[in-house]
């Protein structure tokens, strides 16, 4: 436990100050627009915590962000920039839809897990492809991920349109009830907010992330490759294999996020005109959480709360909900440009100056 705390110390203070500064930037922008910042932030929080339904829906909003945040961070720990969470998310959605709609006659305790696993697996394969091309051919992972994001989008639309389409609609049929991962008991308790098992799985994934990355030999290798591939290779590690492995696990997280969105929230898949954006938001969550699994839980909590609450801000204070993107952008800015934050807190509190140990 003390080690977990150690991972936070130092960066924790900076994160909190960055969040406060981000909210201040948001307030200034609201003042420029002639809005009332205090009223807006109050409406934001009362939107989230005002009733059990909205609170449940906020949890629903947070869940995929945790997983796509892990997808970004896991690869980042191995020195890879996974901008393809978006595509892996879509592939996960589609795989889960196909299993959820097309496979009949299975009991719920087999069908639902099967659909979830399919989503994770295909997300992982989609990402591993990027890792493979990088390892074998040295193709920049950023460019292949971006290309694969678009390919995933059109492939998903093709599959929905040609194999899963509900007659006359721009969406698939509903998944079978046996594939649903909804949590009816908790949903009823929260005025039918769309709560599903993915929340629990996402939290468990943080433990897996931590354990794998910092407590196993494989995790050590991934981090070694991330810090210095040449040194890792000299020490006898297979850099290429680690790159593929890191991308595969990273993609599993994003794929799971997509699978849960279908199986737990929507229960069908639409034909998408553009990318859903959850994978890109995961990058922000990963950055806010400083690529630490427990930091990401908090980062997703913050991101999800602000995003879901932004609707309340526009009812309550008339502020365009896009403001929240400015706030989130500023928070990441201050976390990234720590020099600014350090400059601000230095006079009050700064004794230890230690190198960040990853």
């Amino acid at each position: 436990m003390s080690k977990i705390l150690k991972l936070f110390s130092g960066s924790g203070a900076i994160s909190i100050i960055a969040i406060v500064l981000g909210l201040i930037v948001g307030a200034v922008v609201m003042l420029i627009g002639g809005y009332e910042p205090l009223l807006a932030y109050k409406s934001l929080f009362s939107q989230v915590f005002g009733n059990t339904y909205d609170f449940g829906e906020t949890l629903r909003e947070i869940t995929p962000l945790i997983l796509t945040g892990f997808a970004f961070a896991f690869a980042a720990r191995a020195g890879l920039f996974n901008i393809g969470g978006e595509g892996q998310f879509i592939v996960g959605m589609t795989a889960a839809s196909v299993i959820g709609i097309k496979v009949h006659g299975l009991p719920i305790y087999i069908h639902a897990p099967l659909a979830v696993i399919a989503g994770g697996l295909f997300g992982g394969i989609w990402a591993a492809l990027v890792g493979y091309l990088k390892a074998k051919r040295g193709v920049n992972e950023v460019i292949t991920s971006i290309m694969l994001n678009w390919i995933a989008l059109y492939l998903a639309n093709f599959i929905v349109r040609h194999f899963l389409l509900m007659e006359g609609k721009q969406r698939s049929e509903d998944i079978l009830p046996t594939a649903s991962v909804s949590f009816p008991w908790l949903s009823d308790l929260m005025d039918s907010a769309r709560i599903h098992w993915g929340m629990l799985i996402a939290v468990l994934c943080s433990v897996f992330f931590y354990y794998f990355m910092w407590k196993t030999k494989q995790g050590f290798e991934l981090r070694a490759v991330g810090n210095n591939p040449n040194a890792a290779q000299y020490a006898g590690m297979n850099v290429g294999r680690n790159v593929v492995k890191a991308m595969f696990i990273s993609g599993i997280f994003a794929g799971l996020a997509g699978a849960f969105q279908i199986l737990g929230v929507f229960h069908y898949q639409s034909i998408m005109s553009g990318s859903p954006g959850t994978g890109f938001d995961g990058i922000a969550v990963g950055l806010i959480g400083m690529n630490n699994p427990f930091g990401i839980l908090l980062g997703a909590l913050l991101f999800g709360t602000l995003t879901y609450g932004s609707a309340g801000m526009s009812f309550g204070a008339g502020v365009p909900p896009e403001l929240i993107r400015i706030v989130i952008g500023s928070i990441i800015f201050f976390i990234a440009a720590q020099g600014i934050v350090r400059g601000i807190i230095k006079p009050f509190y700064f004794k230890r100056k230690k190198e960040k140990v990853l």
């Binding site: 040295g138 193709v139 290309m147 349109r161 952008g329 500023s330 990441i332 990234a336």
Partner: protein, 320 residues
Amino acid sequence: MDWVTTLGQLMNTTLVFSTALIFAALGGIFSERSGVTNLGLEGFMMFGAFAAAVATYYAEDAGMGSAAPWIGLIAAIVLGVITSLIHAVASITFKADQTISGIVINFLAAGATLYFVKLIFDGNGETPLLTQVFNKVAIPGLSSIPIIGEGLFHNYPTTYIAIVLVFVAFYVLFKTPFGLRLRAVGEHPSAADTAGINVNRMRYIGVMISGALAALGGATVTLTTTSTFAHNTISGQGYIAIAAMIFGKWNPIGAFGAAAFFGLSQAVRTYVTLFSWSKDIPQEFIYMLPYLLTIIVLVAAVGRSAAPAALGQPYDPGKR
């Protein structure tokens, strides 16, 4: 329809679609050649598209007529330079992670542009439709050449500017002392520093040029294609421009080729429905094609990309 006209039109549409990508990819090159990763191209394009829409709208209002879109272009450059300073300050002065700082730009742009559109236009999520936008200009004489006359010399002013800029950028980067310094700073900053070049100053200039060019790209979309700015005016072109830059190996001519390739594949979409042999191909596959081909070309032919050596590393004079 005879094939000469079709080919000419296809070439023309290709250039129309590639113009924005050419600008943004050139922008990316200036920043990355100086050693600063620029993942914020998408954001700069958004800022540019937004500035162009708003400025052109007010210029129209002020009765400036056909000069209005030019005011829009200038406004885009100004906002592009100003917002690029956010990226520059964070990543050069405060040595923040350049990738992260680029993503920050994308977030800020997505939020700020729509926020201010709603603020200025009473809660509407879209700027009013512009009446004064760019029209295609035929260059006298040249435009009557078969195929390339229609293809090259009957196009938007912005397209001509983009093509000229490709060669200007090439000249500046590879034939002038300024370009040599910019590249030196991106390849080996400490050597450049020893030779008396102010590393951070060169990088600031690189990023600012980058912001200006990418914003011009965004403005092009508003002023030639959509005539308005909304949340989906810029949706992914910035990322495609990054791909074009890497694909073109950080060389203006290469990036131009890659941007034209993406433009062509976008133009082809409208043409495949015209022929009997091709109209049954599922549209999703046509859409997918450019991205698939890019990966195949990269894997088969290009291989390891030749990024500037010091790309992504803040310059720290105390470190060797």
